[in-house]
Symmetry: C2
Subunit: 485 residues, 2 copies
């Protein structure tokens, strides 16, 4: 872990680590030279305790619960929507297909209606109506989520932000951007780069994901280590509540201590408390110098530096590399400063997810652990699963203590799943980690929340949900566990 | 504003600007060479609208409302507290004096009981009892607040965090510190500096203020520009709710997306929703090189740089200074790298508040504005008040768009106050600023909240308060306005 420890001490833009399956050209085999003995005292108590609390499906807590007694969409409802959103009330099954299934093709909904409002006022009208009619609504951005949070589970109306894609304002003194929720992250990046700024977040899904979805899921990504979380960089939100009230907290101030910071309720609550319709966000200056180092040791590591002076940054990086090579922490590597080579190095990382899809079926876990423990879970899981799994692959964000654990098999395998869960959650809980570092809970992880949150906290979540959305129409079956004490 | 604009583009640790009254040796006269014409179209509408909403005292909305019908402390209550906190249940009027009045001596309470718990369990017992008995409680840290938020208004029981002053853990890989709420900020700074880290926040009041109070008020301070707000750096909280429930959200993870981020509710809510008993916070590495530049132009500006390489930082600073001197943005200045000289330069800024107390009485405002507007308010206020004020002084955090506006007179002057308020709030509201950037609302600013927050947001604040503290025993008369729609 010496290397990992070292990396976290640097003031870097992002630090990546991964080891991947050897079969694919986009990924390279991890060489683990020092598989250290794992000494883990298992306490089964918490797991047993938790398993009692799981939902309607004790065999697979990730599966959908029974449909809740919401109304079903009638012809009268469709007439209302068509009058409100002419040409933007989609009912053609072919056009609805891609919105009914998640990117991983693991959750399949059966919604008959997709609405595409352009303004907060239209969202307000839709929600006021749905709340009165007791119609369930699934807000959807770029539909790039990994936990089944952005697709309907049953026949919820899909409320898409895709046409809410306008930049509202940009202040090139403060770097504060205000835009609608449906702006695609990559488009915002291009917009800002032309103005000598960058977005404070960057993700593999940037070409599709919406900023509103990023905020709703409190997306982490590649720049968190350098620019901090969205809880610090998001300065304001406009949100439509379940009953149609518009909450305008779209401030563009770095400091505002006038009462409770309500916008925080909607960051990371996955559309269960309100629909984000606009965002203001603090954007950093575009760095003048960028270096990307790709290093080999027992792990492959990507380090990106970003600064204002190329000579200074190269000197610092050179000094660091000299130190880690001399001390044999690193055995080999390459450094890139040109955009094309930088892109090529990053694509090695960004294509890992895609590469894994070729294995057949992937069980995905997104875990936070104390940095010193981050890879122990991969090694222990390999021993624990033995031949049952095709591959146990660990990559992630070292500096953030965030491990993406991927376990592959030729096809869906209930026996393998039973060996993984709740083992992986118990392991994480044992080290006070998070069972969802950046992906959220969505449908799939909702019932595992007690591994990372005490029951008092989950109960309070339930109270907040009941306060803001008493009929529970907003993104039902997501985030909150089926049973709240 | 050229200089100000310039400063915000640098990657600096902190940027300060001020102009102060010429009478005091600790402060130097501002020379405003370019008082530009102010073109402000006043819209009185919002001010009129808001003034209708003000509380029980229409003449002075900062004043205390009538006492609410809480129980009064009985001998039986005292017996309970003495049994729970032997030797730590203070009733001696002399010992209570300093806890009954705020640092500015503008709010005077009349509490007869000061409790000094050492653990969250003791806080829990106290609150459970007070909630059952309907006894009001005023949580108190270092009592350094400027808006009357940390002292009782009437006879509320004072719940002090001063004996909850233990460091619980520090991880020198991740830089994550976990400690009790009553740790003094400066003590934590010393603790960390010995371990080659620093706190992500620094304030003038560091010698007295408690970290729990800092978090409860979402303190800003000198390092916000560089390390971001507490909403990003605070990773976990332990909080005792009004009914005594202990909410353990004391995570030490940089990423955790398992449900709603409940700790955010307690950051900046000024003890009205719960009592923070422990904090975990992400601390940056101690910088290896620090430079402080003190520059003169129309304004005095302090710029602090912090980096890992002294030569690089000096080179960058030198380059910047050359540019601003050549272009006449800056006329004169000095740069310090030694600790004593750095301290001397900072003390010029840190002693402004103290210097102002010599003027007699100070009306203090803590305003956020778009950076380009930050000093216009000072100039306009001078014109507006004319001879009524002794001095109109503006200083603050340029990079954060945060102006500390101080208006002095020989003694309290109702006519002056009437000329300042609501004028200053209307001005701020006009530019979509915040009427409390970092000081909070406390008692004094509670009724002005509508100048910065829409009524829907204030109503939602009221719902949250009712949910978490249905009897309203926690820090009553603070933060929330007297009348909520």
């Amino acid at each position: 872990m010496g290397m990992l420890q070292k990396c976290t001490r640097l003031s870097l833009r992002s630090t990546y680590m991964w080891s991947v399956c050897p079969q694919y050209s986009t990924a390279v085999a991890a060489r683990e030279t020092q598989d250290r003995a794992l000494i883990v005292q298992w306490t089964q108590h918490r797991g047993v305790h938790n398993s009692r609390r799981l939902g309607a499906n004790p065999v697979n807590p990730s599966a959908a619960p029974p449909r809740l007694p919401f109304s079903r969409v009638t012809q009268e409802d469709l007439s209302f929507f068509r009058a409100l959103l002419p040409g933007r009330t989609i009912t053609d099954p072919d056009l609805l297909k891609s919105s009914n299934v998640d990117w991983l093709k693991t959750v399949q909904g059966s919604s008959d209606v997709l609405l595409r409002p352009k303004t907060a006022e239209e969202v307000s009208e839709v929600l006021r109506y749905c709340n009165e009619r007791n119609l369930a609504v699934c807000p959807q951005g770029g539909n790039t989520g990994l936990v089944g949070g952005s697709v309907p589970v049953f026949d919820e109306i899909i409320l898409s932000t895709s046409l809410m894609n306008q930049v509202i304002a940009f202040d090139n003194i403060s770097g504060i951007l205000t835009c609608q929720a449906g702006c695609v992250l990559e488009n915002l990046s291009h917009y800002l780069e032309e103005r000598d700024f960058i977005m404070p977040l960057d993700l593999g899904a940037k070409g599709s994901c919406h900023i509103g979805g990023n905020v709703s899921t409190n997306a982490g990504g590649l720049r968190l280590l350098r620019y901090g979380s969205l809880r610090g960089t998001v300065l304001g939100l406009e949100v439509v509540l379940a009953d149609g009230r518009v909450l305008n907290c779209l401030a563009t101030l770095r400091k505002d201590n006038t009462g409770y910071d309500l916008k925080q309720l909607f960051i990371g609550s996955e559309g269960t408390l309100g629909v984000i319709t606009a965002v203001s966000i603090l954007c950093p200056r575009k760095p003048k110098a960028v270096n990307v180092a790709f290093l080999e040791c027992p792990f492959y590591i990507i380090i990106e530096t970003a600064g204002s002076n190329a000579t200074h940054d190269e000197e610092k990086l050179h000094h660091f590399l000299e130190e880690v090579m001399t001390s044999s922490l690193v055995t080999d590597g390459t450094v890139a400063t040109e955009a094309t080579k930088i892109k090529a190095l990053w694509s090695l990382r960004e294509r890992v997810t895609e590469a894994l899809t070729h294995e057949g079926y992937t069980y995905k876990y997104d875990i936070s652990l104390p940095v010193g423990k981050i890879y122990d879970l991969v090694q222990d899981m390999r021993r624990h699963l033995g031949d049952m799994a095709k591959n146990v692959v660990g990559y992630g964000h070292v500096g953030d203590g965030n491990l993406h654990l991927n376990i592959t098999s030729s096809s869906k395998d209930p026996a393998l799943l039973a060996a993984i869960e709740p083992y992986v959650y118990e392991w994480t809980s044992q080290w006070k980690g998070s069972i969802s570092a950046e992906h959220g809970l969505g449908l799939k992880k909702r019932n595992y929340i007690y591994y990372s949150k005490p029951s008092e906290a989950v109960a309070l979540m339930g109270s907040i949900k009941a306060m803001l959305d008493p009929k529970g129409i907003l993104n039902p079956y997501k985030t909150l566990p089926d049973n709240i004490n």
